[in-house]
């Protein structure tokens, strides 16, 4: 069955004051799917969402809805609704009136409004809160009101901009489940924005990985994890060892001074490549049985597994194993052929020395610095 294309972005470009924020974004979104836009902060996720909602106009390119060009349509004429990052609830209205807002604007009969609001309150588990003032609600409750308010107009597409960003971890997990349920019950297409890769992988049918105003990869979570197209995606999604290698011939890759069998082909002979090996795909064996040997420099107990750092040929590998390994011991490693992910060199090659894991803390730190600089 051919899936119905509900939103289509074609060649969207957007700049602010000469600074390119989105360059040539093209994207198809289908009916009844949960799509996540994933990328570090500042990569243009919110801007893309605002262009779909109609709050921003692209400098170039078009937005299609149900096959019709809606690029010039104002927000109030689009069949999409938004859940804002900071909720943006109307502070002068109570929970009931906030949710009823869309129907009141549409001048629906009072009876229908009451029925619909009640149904929405049930959907987001806030039935006893209708008289409450929104400023007296907790973050999680405000979030639910925002979702109910956006859903009551029965939009074809719901846009959610980091809706769980301000909630603590426990609440976030609960809300993720609820969002999934709500989507199943309503059958509305969700376009979800987050910088949290775990959230993206666990929630979505499809993930769009973005960086610096460009789409890096689009695909099912499992494909993005297993077959990253370049070093950037490999680094951003999960943890990975990214090494320089050479593709000797089909099914033969050479790295760390050793030639391995792999399952990749279609490269030129002796083409330099990036090779990604996930930490959980590396087996620890006795030194004499290993394909490579190295010195364990660090061991961290993570609960389910140990995370060990092994130095092999001046490159620090991260390996996850369930067996204990002593620090400062020599070990061998064994890697199955299908654990090598060979990628063409890209602009992101060589950015990632040693093992790498995308660090959200780093991003926060650098953001803080920016803000301080701005305040000056």
């Amino acid at each position: 069955m051919e899936k119905h294309k509900i939103i289509e972005l074609k060649g969207i470009c957007k700049s602010y004051g000469g600074e390119k924020v989105l360059s040539d974004i093209s994207l198809d979104i289908y009916d009844n799917e949960f799509v996540t836009m994933l990328g570090p902060s500042g990569c243009g996720k919110t801007t893309t969402l605002r262009i779909i909602a109609g709050f921003e106009h692209p400098d170039k390119g078009s937005v299609y809805f149900d096959g019709k060009d809606i690029t010039a349509l104002p927000p109030y004429q689009r069949h999409v609704n938004t859940v804002f990052q900071k909720y943006a609830l109307f502070p002068h209205l109570n929970v009931y009136e906030n949710i009823a807002f869309g129907l009141r604007v549409a001048k629906r009969p009072e009876e229908e409004i009451r029925e619909q609001v009640k149904e929405m309150l049930r959907l987001v588990n806030l039935s006893s809160f209708e008289k409450r003032h929104v400023t007296t609600l907790s973050g999680g409750q405000q979030q639910r009101v925002a979702i109910a308010r956006a859903l009551i107009n029965k939009p074809r597409v719901l846009l959610l901009d980091e809706p769980l960003g301000a909630l603590d971890l426990k609440l976030r997990k609960d809300m993720q489940q609820e969002l999934k349920n709500i989507r199943k019950q309503t059958g509305i297409t969700f376009i979800y924005v987050t910088h949290d890769q775990e959230e993206a992988l666990s929630l979505s049918d499809r993930v769009i990985v973005m960086n610096a105003g460009e789409i890096q990869q689009v695909g099912a979570p499992i494909d993005i994890y297993n077959e990253p197209v370049n070093a950037y995606v490999a680094d951003f999604i999960g943890e990975s060892n990214i090494l320089d290698g050479v593709m000797l011939e089909d099914y033969k890759v050479r790295l760390a001074g050793h030639t391995f069998d792999c399952v990749d082909k279609g490269f030129e002979a002796n083409e330099p490549v990036d090779v990604v090996i996930r930490p959980e795909d590396v087996d620890v064996v006795a030194p004499e049985k290993g394909m490579l040997t190295g010195l364990v420099t660090q061991v961290t107990f993570m609960g389910v597994h140990y995370e060990i750092i092994v130095e092999i040929d001046h490159f620090k590998w991260m390996i996850q194993t369930t067996d204990y390994v002593a620090p400062d011991s020599r070990i061998g490693i064994y890697i199955e052929p299908d654990a090598f992910h060979v990628m063409k060199k890209s602009e992101y090659s060589d950015l990632f020395g040693d093992y790498s894991s995308y660090s959200f803390e780093h991003e926060l730190l650098s953001e803080n610095v920016d803000e301080e600089a701005l305040e000056e």
Binding site: P75, Y76, F84, F90, F101, G102, V105, R149, A150
Partner: protein, 289 residues
């Protein structure tokens, strides 16, 4: 020693600030005709005021003028604040704000005379017979109330999450509907405060009214001034006492409606304006005014 000194200093300040008011209130209850010797307590001067047609007419005039000026200044000022808030260019915005603030910094007498000259000029241009009237007075009052209204409403607009009007439009409002359904309710508290402020300013203004009212429309303050020119009797004191307490009540109401948050915002606003002007001066873009 230092402590004693600062206490004396404080005492002197209070003395100079409040002594005239206390004397005014005391003498307003004097039973005699003198404004220097208190002979006994009576309400006769108050009674006289409430029997005097001239005074009552002036009071009615002032009420009509102040209510109209406050309402109109609030409507125009709020719209202006919304416009300024929506301006994208920072330079244009600060330029408009500076222009708005000038009448506030000006001495009343300068504002009064320049408005009067403008009205005279305009009347000549249009060949009107009467130059100064109720309408020129009203225009003058709206003019000097406007900056206060704008400065009251603008910080509240800044406090508003910019996603709020967007959320309204997202849910189907046109920009105009969004203004009335979401933005206006949000800024309404500071709109009320602005209106009380404008009413107070208009109610107790003398200098600007004196220059722009002509002879046909007498306000309370102008009436008091004309009474002084005739003869100084305690009835002036009792009328002034009434005006004083009316303004005092208004100020108290204003302070109740004006939240601490808004006051802080306004202080920041003014500090920003000053800093911007200083920076521009340093860059040599602004010649000393």
């Amino acid at each position: 020693m230092k402590k004693v000194f600062s206490k004396v200093y404080l005492g002197l300040i209070f003395l100079f600030l409040y002594a005239p008011l206390i004397v005014m209130v005391l003498i307003s209850f004097n039973s005699g005709d003198s404004t220097t010797q208190i002979e006994g307590f009576s309400l006769k001067w108050y009674r006289e005021i409430f029997r005097d047609h001239g005074t009552l007419q002036a009071f009615r005039n002032t009420l009509v003028l102040s209510v109209l000026a406050a309402v109109l200044a609030t409507v125009i000022g709020t719209l202006a604040a919304v416009g300024i808030h929506k301006m994208r260019s920072k330079r244009l915005r600060s330029a408009v704000m500076t222009v708005t603030n000038i009448p506030m910094m000006n001495p009343d007498i300068v504002t009064g005379i320049s408005l009067m000259l403008l009205f005279v000029f305009a009347a000549r241009m249009l060949n009107l017979e009467t130059t100064l009237s109720f309408y020129t007075l009203l225009i003058a009052h709206i003019t000097f109330c406007l900056p206060y209204v704008i400065l009251n409403v603008l910080p509240k607009l800044r406090q508003m999450d910019k996603n709020l009007p967007e959320a309204a439009q997202d849910l189907g409002c046109t920009p105009l509907q969004s203004f009335f359904k979401v933005e206006l309710p949000f800024i309404m508290p500071s709109v009320w405060t602005a209106m009380i402020m404008a009413f107070t300013l208009s109610f107790d203004d003398f200098v600007i009214s004196n220059f722009t009212s002509g002879s046909s429309y007498e306000t309370l303050t102008i009436h008091i001034y004309s009474m002084i020119k005739k003869s100084v009797k305690p009835n002036i004191y009792s009328l002034s006492t009434i005006v004083f307490f009316a303004v005092l009540v208004l100020l108290i109401v204003y302070n109740f409606t004006d939240s601490a948050d808004d006051r802080r915002e306004r202080a920041i606003e003014r500090a920003n304006l000053r800093r911007e002007r200083r920076l521009r001066k340093e860059r040599g873009e602004l010649v000393e005014e």
